[in-house]
Amino acid sequence: MGFEVITSPPTNQEILELGLTACVDGACLPLKAFVGHVRFLVNRGLELLFVPQAISVVPGEYTCTNLLGLPDLVQQYIPSSVRLLSPALDARKGAGKISFSYLRCGLEFASALRVLKAWQTAQAAQRQVDTAPKANGSTGRGLNILILGPRYLTDDAYLNGDLMGKLAALGVQVTAAAAFPDSITLPASRSLAKRPFWTSMRRSLGALEHCLHRVDGVISLAPFACVAEAMQGVMVAERTAKTECAHLELHVDEHSSPVGLVTRLEAFCDLLERKRRG
């Protein structure tokens, strides 16, 4: 559409620090990191900041309340010279509403034809990201682990303490639940007693149902003090206990020492290995 686009790099100490020093204390770690990214970009000089208000991205579901309020939160941390562009994405009245919001938002800046082409390009790029998930890591010990948790945590190596890298070093294959497309997780979540409201939780639980008998263990990754994830942790624990699938809950916060994380992962992999050997 003719914009010059600036993106922030993957989360690092500098970005997180920017978030920690400014963001309200009660916010979860990913939210603080998000504010850090925003402040980082503002320092680079920009005119428009694109933070969509994701109310619902799948019909019949909501995103978490923190995501819902994201534009309002971000507004506090940007100078008046920066304009916040936040189209409301609300799929509750049909998935088509989301395209409509994006297109209408674009019309202010370019002709209908250009906006339409940009939207198609963006969708093609998104489909590339959303293709079937690949297991990463190492096949060294022949162990498979499913990681549950929202994508903004499982994909952020800085926030999750390089969980994937550490597991790979321990000789384990890892698949992230968040990488499963809705075409798999939606049908899989139908066997749940009740469909969760929140999209990220439904994706995690759907992926769990899909993978339960194909993996050796499950790790739930959650930000400390995240209510939805705390609830999900209990549901996952109940489900895995019934099938005797090993389950580890990890909470991430601002600690900088990786020792505690390594201890848990090491012990968990030992456990899986000994279990498999019988």
Partner: protein, 329 residues
Amino acid sequence: MGSKSKPVYLGVDVGSVSTNFVLLDAEAAGASVVWKKYLRTQGAPLVALKTGLAHMAQEGSWRIVGVGATGSGRELAGVVLGADVVKNEITAHATAALSYDSNVSTILEIGGQDSKLIILRDGVVVDFAMNTVCAAGTGSFLDQQAHRLGIPIDEFGQVALRSTSPVRIAGRCTVFAESDMVHKQQLGVDIADIVAGLCQAMVRNFLSSLAKGKELLPTVFFQGGVAANAGMRRFFEETLAQPIYIPEHYDVMGAIGIALLAAEALAEGHKPTRFLGLESVLRSEVAAQVYECQRCPNACEISEIWRDGTFLASWGARCGRQGRADQTS
């Protein structure tokens, strides 16, 4: 002690509060402890390591045929000693408990900075939980409170047992627990009842944060430094309504377990030990250096270990770099 150069396995558990050493008789089956030492780490694991080894050299003549390191300082200890096995403390604690009783199904472990619950079935660890973010309800907290009340930590448990009606203390958070205790003290509540209330709160906190939804089947072991506290043991027994066993060497179980794992690994691999030798470790000057790496915006905290001016190892870099700070690649 004193038998000429007895072959032994050395197990070292470098924890945040204590650094523990054991020597296991290499000729006996299972865990036969011939020497042990429980030292305060006092924030200086390298000093504690050397002090422990110096005591060991003084108190007997040993031939060390294998070394294992565990605890949060295990990497450091592993490099300094030349350990054959470096493993996490959960596996170590479970191994030690199993060597005492192969029927153990539940291990309650409360150490200085963390507490753990380990669930075993048929001799295999099937589940575990560690307290996550804070150190409320661990040994450090008990230490602090004992100090504040002017009761030596060794007598803390006995004082708790004298109580006839323990008062209720908030156990969720150290800060709340402390203010609760101060309030009760000001009301003139007997010190024994406060101490007992605190022990009860710690038991409650342990079970609600770690044992949620888990089945604690017999046999139950209680180990770690806090197992010395008779009050804690009694309240665990009352709450779980079953006997709790405290192994003889409850305070050094991690070190015992890792020594057993070292013995197992060396027997499997038919390899000689990589131990650097008692004299060589005691004679050398080992220094640790911690700094923030400035190579990229991640600013990782790197720990470097140097012996007699020679670089040994470093860790902590997210990028996996192993080199020295002053080297370019």
